[in-house]
């Protein structure tokens, strides 16, 4: 079991507690960087997709995991980001300007709708975000000159400083671009959570009334959190647009919104790692089911491919299993395993006992 001997406040303020932690992160980054040389194009594309979903997941995590604002319509911000980026690039703006603009557009829109929305709590906010999503979807169809309406729009190929980052022609470059952006956002997110701003998010999440007593402007904090959340999700949307190439509003459906919510919930609410783990699960699930299905077909001769909706069904069952048996998500389970390994053989059975919260009505504010 590792005992960390701290000699200065910095060791608590730093992102990494000790040298081994730093080494682990460096190795992980290194592995991600050399991935193109280890796997073929198909898996590299999958990895890129996973990274983009992790980015979107981080966006939603800021709002849901760290500020307690459940959003059922975050796909709306994916859409805003994707369309803004594609439209601007089609109008001649270079990528390194279009991308931040996309994030800014999504972020501002999110902050704007957050201001009236922050007066609502819990389920009201969730349903309101769903409503916003439907409205944005319809707006996309209506603003046909910009968005290509029902027909769709093309996200142009990215070229920076003469180097092509085209998603098909230069997949490795595109992968590195996405990796770089994701790494940067992760660093910013980690900084956020160890700073006073991040703490104010947690305060608002856990007790509004005492947050106010500590001088935190709850409305402004919630709006800021939601704005940052939608902004990051907008960035992910822009990248998603480039990844798909040609897209229309159907790319950003309610199902996507729900999938995004699943990423953060199954991954582990309230942790950055959760966004990544959840993204890996969500993007990897279809592959896994396909492999299992082929396996069943090969070994038992039963062809499950003929049954429509089976994928979603299996997915749902896994989900239900997670919610019931491991609500702390993948990251929660990982932490338990790690603690078990670290304290072996002294791990106690109830170390992570779930604290049951008895229901107290949210209708009394």
């Amino acid at each position: 079991m590792r005992v960390v001997f701290k000699t200065s406040y910095d060791s608590d303020i730093d992102l990494h507690e000790h040298g081994a932690d730093r080494l682990r992160t460096a190795l992980l980054l290194g592995l991600m960087a050399v991935l193109p040389f280890l796997v073929g194009d198909y898996y590299l594309a999958e990895a890129t997709n996973t990274l983009i979903w992790a980015l979107a997941g981080m966006g939603l995590m800021i709002a849901v995991g760290h500020t307690g604002q459940v959003s059922l319509g975050h796909a709306a911000f994916l859409a805003i980001g994707a369309y803004t980026d594609a439209a601007l690039m089609n109008a001649g703006l270079p990528f390194y300007l279009a991308l931040p603009a996309a994030g800014l557009a999504a972020g501002l829109f999110g902050a704007l709708i957050a201001i009236p929305a922050v007066r609502m709590s819990g389920i009201y906010l969730a349903i309101a975000t769903l409503a916003v999503f439907v409205i944005v979807e319809e707006l996309v169809i209506m603003l046909e000159p910009i968005t290509g309406g029902v027909g769709g729009i093309m996200a142009p190929s990215i070229t920076l400083f003469g180097v092509s980052f085209d998603r098909y022609a230069a997949l490795t470059n595109f992968y590195w671009l996405v990796l770089g952006i994701v790494a940067l956002v992760t660093w910013g997110y980690a900084n956020l959570m160890r700073s006073p701003t991040g703490r104010s998010f947690l305060a608002v999440r856990d007790s509004e009334v005492s947050a106010r007593a500590l001088g935190i402007n709850v409305t402004r904090t919630r709006a800021l959190a939601f704005g940052l959340s939608s902004g990051v999700t907008g960035l992910a949307g822009a990248l998603m647009g480039h990844f798909i190439g040609f897209f229309n509003y159907e790319l950003f459906s309610v199902i996507i919104s729900i999938n995004l919510l699943l990423v953060v919930t199954i991954g582990g609410l309230g942790s950055i790692q959760g966004a990544f783990l959840g993204a890996i699960l969500i993007t990897g699930m279809p592959q896994l089911i396909a492999i299992l299905r082929d396996g069943v077909n090969a070994n038992f001769g039963i062809d499950l491919g003929g049954i429509p909706g089976l994928d979603t069904m299996v997915f749902s069952m896994i989900l239900i299993g997670f919610i019931i048996f491991e609500p702390a998500g993948l990251y929660g389970r990982w932490r338990k395993i790690r603690v078990w390994l670290e304290t072996f053989p002294l791990a106690r059975r109830d170390m992570f006992r779930r604290h049951k919260t008895y229901l107290k009505t949210e209708r009394m504010k």
């Binding site: 406040y9 910095d10 608590d12 303020i13 910013g188 900084n191 956020l192 160890r194 700073s195 006073p196 701003t197 991040g198 703490r199 104010s200 947690l202 305060a203 999440r205 856990d206 007790s207 009334v209 005492s210 947050a211 106010r212 007593a213 500590l214 001088g215 935190i216 402007n217 709850v218 800021l224 940052l228 309230g270 604290h355």
Partner: protein, 255 residues
Amino acid sequence: MSLLEVNDLAVHFGGVKAVDGVSFSVESGEVFAIIGPNGAGKSTIFNLISRIYEPTRGSIRFDGRDITGLKAHDIAKLGIARTFQNIELFDHSTVLDNLLMGRHTHRSTSFVEDILFLPKVRREERDHRRHVEEVIEFLELEAYRNKMIAGLPYGVRKVVEIGRALSIGPKLILLDEPASGLSVEETREVAFWIEDMRRDMGLTVLMVEHDMSLVNQVSDRVLAVANGRPLALGSPADVQAHPDVKAAYLGTEAA
């Protein structure tokens, strides 16, 4: 000029007059207690001062300034901190994080600077931590620094609640039933801490309390209220001997 002046304060919830014409003032460096039977409106007075409720009439002045119209989140910056009767700590954070959140009014970094974690942010973080460590030392919470609130015993959580209020670095601290649910030893600790707060930190303490021994031990003056109206104001001994106060608690002799 008193540090806190409450004048004819009243709040009506529908037909219920929770507080009906309460006036008192608290001098700087004083320990002032509000006592009264349950439902007397004591916590409501606190909620009015920390601006959670909107008064129906009356005014509140702090440090010479009228705060009656301020918003709840403006109060902390002026130097008023409070604890809650039903502990409102941040359950999913550690003790250290809870205390650090108390430093919110002293932050000067914007969220952009925070995200980039500029050297200025790091410097301020060290500073916040230093202040919080003083509070931890004062309240002897060293062993609990990195523990999650959710797993701590009730007595410790009450202490953390006080610690978080102290982290604000306030001039006036409102303690809402600091001894409720505590054992005799723990209550004695609270008495010592209140004394230390007044003497070493120069704090003014306004508290609501049921535990008469604590009130007698630490208070300079006491205000007794019942049904939202004031009954008596004076030294602890005087107030407890007051016939109206006795009647409110014990009832009157059968006719």
